[in-house]
Symmetry: C2
Subunit: 143 residues, 2 copies
Amino acid sequence: MIFNRTTEYAFRIMSFLASDKEKLHNTSDIFDALHIPFRYLRKQMTVLTKTGLVVSIQGKYGGYMLAKKEKDITLWDIVIAMHDKLFETNCFFGYEKCALSQHCMMHSRWAGVKEMIENILKTTTLEDFKKENMHDLIKMSDQ
Amino acid sequence: MIFNRTTEYAFRIMSFLASDKEKLHNTSDIFDALHIPFRYLRKQMTVLTKTGLVVSIQGKYGGYMLAKKEKDITLWDIVIAMHDKLFETNCFFGYEKCALSQHCMMHSRWAGVKEMIENILKTTTLEDFKKENMHDLIKMSDQ
DNA sequence: TATAAATAATACCTAAAGGTATCATATATG
DNA sequence: CATATATGATACCTTTAGGTATTATTTATA
């Protein structure tokens, strides 16, 4: 598990919302599709709302939808919104100062890993997760 | 922090032991060099001993040394010994079944990341962390 | 053989992530 | 305007990783 569980949940939720942008999805819809623990999902939806990634409509027939177009939301945006600590330190050994002065043997190799991950996250948008692809994925996890 | 803290500690400890294989290092030596919380370090040294990565000598003037030659201990061995959950799931979204049936949009890209990390860990041995390099690194983190 | 100095074993404590429960607030519609 | 059904806020519970404390065991050597 490279990302923490909450970040993975956010990926799933945002991808699901992207799969059918027109409709407003309430928590039960999302729960039925993704089976994230219901009350935790409720809480996380308000977090996603506060970060500005989704827009909520309160009251009867309310729900959630993406705040921006799919192509304008990257996976990187989601990681940042979830405050995932993955990108907190740069040093392979977790040394704070490693990046600032002389580099250790691992440094360049590890920098390559982080760069690759960052690059994937920054260039992948929710546009890449629309329709069939997402539904297939959800069905699979359900088996 | 891609690896958990305990795994990072293990990387530091094993690298330190590799930096001067002849001498037997006791917990105080390792603590003076790495400043891992002393009592936690004590505990972790016995874990490393039980996994077979290090050999301990009990009694007065006892301590720890690598169980094998530096070139025969990879970073991968250390990750496995620490039961790091990094490589537990393969799916970007954390879906258990993803790898087994149809693959999601992220799958090949993410498989590339994991493969790159695994490759680095499996091909880097403690031989790469000997002498000056390690001492410099430790000094840096101390500032 | 007594002692000092090391590791081993075990139990407990703490902080953070993940998850649950309850009550408050918003709003469409009869 | 009452009600049903949605989200918002808040407090609390649980699990796990990380860290601490205490006692037991080992062993070199005076």
